[in-house]
């Protein structure tokens, strides 16, 4: 059910024009420490490539 929810959420965010790479979904099990580190590396690289977020950000 969570998968369905996020499948639609990701498509919808992409549709309204928020870069799809800013919201990332993945599965990591409790025994996958290595994978966790890889995911964090991957996510950081992706977000870094996009630069700071400017859309939907509230100016405080």
């Amino acid at each position: 059910m969570a998968r369905r929810k996020f499948a639609t959420l990701k498509r919808f965010l992409d549709y309204i024009g928020l870069e799809g790479d800013r919201t990332i979904f993945t599965w990591i099990s409790a025994s996958e420490g290595e994978r966790f580190a890889n995911v964090i590396k991957g996510v950081t690289a992706k977000v870094r490539a996009l630069g700071p977020a400017s859309k939907l950000v509230k100016k405080l």
Binding site: M1, A2, K5, F6, L9, L13, L18, D21, R22, T23, I24, F25, T26, W27, I28, S29, A30, S31, E32, G33, E34, R35, F36, A37, V39, I40, K41, V43, T44, K46, V47, R48, L50, G51, P52, A53, K55, L56, V57, K58, L60
Partner: protein, 72 residues
């Protein structure tokens, strides 16, 4: 202070919303195994991925996160 911050290289702020039983334990394991990973994530632990309201994602983006990771 502000000057110092401006001079620093920009690092992304990433919010990770993770399941207590899967990814959180995985992160713990990565910690005990001393695997190196970037320090830019802020982890929010939830009881289950099903607990995550899509609103959390929108709210994180609105309040200044550069990226949101949802993991179960």
């Amino acid at each position: 202070m502000a000057e110092n911050l401006a001079n620093k290289e920009w690092v992304p702020k990433i919010v990770a919303i993770v399941c207590n039983w899967c990814t959180y334990a995985g992160a713990d394991l990565a910690g005990i195994s001393r695997i190196q990973y970037p320090p830019n994530v802020r982890i929010i632990r939830v009881p289950c991925t099903g607990r995550i309201n899509p609103f959390y994602v929108a709210k994180a983006l609105q309040t200044g996160a550069d990226g949101v990771l949802v993991s179960g």
